[in-house]
Symmetry: C2
Amino acid sequence: MQHEKPIVNSELSSQQVKDIGEQGLLKRLQRFCPPEIIGDDAAVLETAPGQSLVVTTDVLVDGVHFSNITTSPEDAGWRAAAANLSDLAAMGASPLGITVGLGLPGEVRVSWVERLYQGMTECLQKYNTSIVGGDIVRSPVTTLAITAFGQVNPSQIIRRSAAVVGNAIIVTGVHGASKAGLELLLHPELGQDLNDEEKTALIRAHQRPQPRLDVLPILWKILASPCPMPHAPCPLPIAGMDSSDGLADAIIQICRASGVGALLERREIPLPKTFNYWLTQEQGLEYALYGGEDFELVLCLPQELASALVQHLGEGAAIVGSITSGSTVLLHDQQKKFPDQVLSLSQGFQHFNS
Amino acid sequence: MQHEKPIVNSELSSQQVKDIGEQGLLKRLQRFCPPEIIGDDAAVLETAPGQSLVVTTDVLVDGVHFSNITTSPEDAGWRAAAANLSDLAAMGASPLGITVGLGLPGEVRVSWVERLYQGMTECLQKYNTSIVGGDIVRSPVTTLAITAFGQVNPSQIIRRSAAVVGNAIIVTGVHGASKAGLELLLHPELGQDLNDEEKTALIRAHQRPQPRLDVLPILWKILASPCPMPHAPCPLPIAGMDSSDGLADAIIQICRASGVGALLERREIPLPKTFNYWLTQEQGLEYALYGGEDFELVLCLPQELASALVQHLGEGAAIVGSITSGSTVLLHDQQKKFPDQVLSLSQGFQHFNS
């Protein structure tokens, strides 16, 4: 029985999953879960009366979606949790909890797994939610499958399909920072003109993205009182999604689902200020449109509500364009320095094909 | 554009995931999902008023939890869905839907994935539920992460921790059939004295296990009227779980969680009748106790309710013993042919260690 001899620190840190088995690992990870949910076949959660349940799931694979080169286990955990919370925010939902399915080679260090859970828990705690269940199995490749649950007032569900011609298109923050942070991690020789603080801010945007659940109460407040459009159904149906696969992808997906087009104003897309020091305008814009993983919300609202929301959200939030008839998503330059450009998904991230 | 030339059948059947990409595969799989849930960041589900949400998750890895040798993709799909529905049944919950996270090597055939979804859907349809969301990603190993959601009246939650001394222990059906079916698949030379129908029945128990959601309405009916125990809280708290990791595991887990022991009567454990033709008593009992994947429910109830439930459930259901004080799970032989035997988890299935 390995537990009967004293374990010294160096042994602990080199301990592998196969040394303690699934049951041993589960015991070590229980401190990351609320005590009341442990020990049954499934977790029990309460939804508030009248709320709908929202469910989203992501699978992340070592070497495909994360790697020890650019991502510490804590950051991998944070990012995985953040991506799922962002999907909830994109639907207008508040989180109820997540389940974590973990596939692990026996050679993975126990401390790596604990640090992964530490990162997930840090992100979840910030948004007042927690890990409520999971499964740990043997696998030749480290795999993380997260399912997040949330609840939403049915009249406040945000859908991709609800954009209408004339809506303003809002982004809740700057875009391109996550991609820029990744580039700085992969190529430390880049960004020589940035100081340490500026570099750290971009890298942190990549490592610790912030799902925009904070936008929701502000949005509801602006929509609620007084009913802003007396001739429209109130509350309004809101169109939107998150920009996890890039801003271009988000706008194109909304337009496709809503059967509309969009006109984006090139100079209105908010980029990190530090982009000017080391990226051309074109590079910065490419990071914003196609970099992905900024986890901001892209929302379509009547112009006056959009302006009010941008004002309340403050720095980074911006109206970047408007919904048009047709089906084309055009990138336009008011100053006519650049010709109009049609945006398409093929430049964006595609699994398998990329 | 590959879609512009006509595709002949032989090309279709040899098509690989990398040929059509994630988006192409998603389109092909949409027919397995209800149309209203497609196209947003997350799925929206309704829980009935006053019901609690129940959530469970499983990860299955190719070569660890399923293999093309013994399992067709349809059966792998069915079994994965059934295991999660069984976890819901074990909590007393009715299914609301499942999400499917899929990791796939690019070389996997599209037809394999479609057949996997076909199997999942067949199982879900039988229990009036469906796939409500998912994620498909590239992975070096085929990985299936399922999360199932259900709802339960909070007063009817079945927990492992609610067993009390004197309770009868019920199983809702025969045990060992799934393990026997697997052995027949792996070693076709076994079971020479079984006819084809008998073999098929055991193999089918392995390939198409039936989660016992059908037990729940019968259980509630027996408990409801008239309130059977005037001095006890009514409805009674019910103890139980499913026998997915073997009957021994289920009883030991219930006893641990409830701080009690159990006395099992060796001859009362229901085995498939056909075991007599090709297995010794000891082999049959080992399959029942440690084989796993029978997906029956193991419930602990006052004796008179237990008898009523067994009567209603009919063939296969049985009272196999009773809850005792202490912490030992004893296998007893009324006929005293075998000495008492203490059951422990170490003989059962353990990931990593096995």
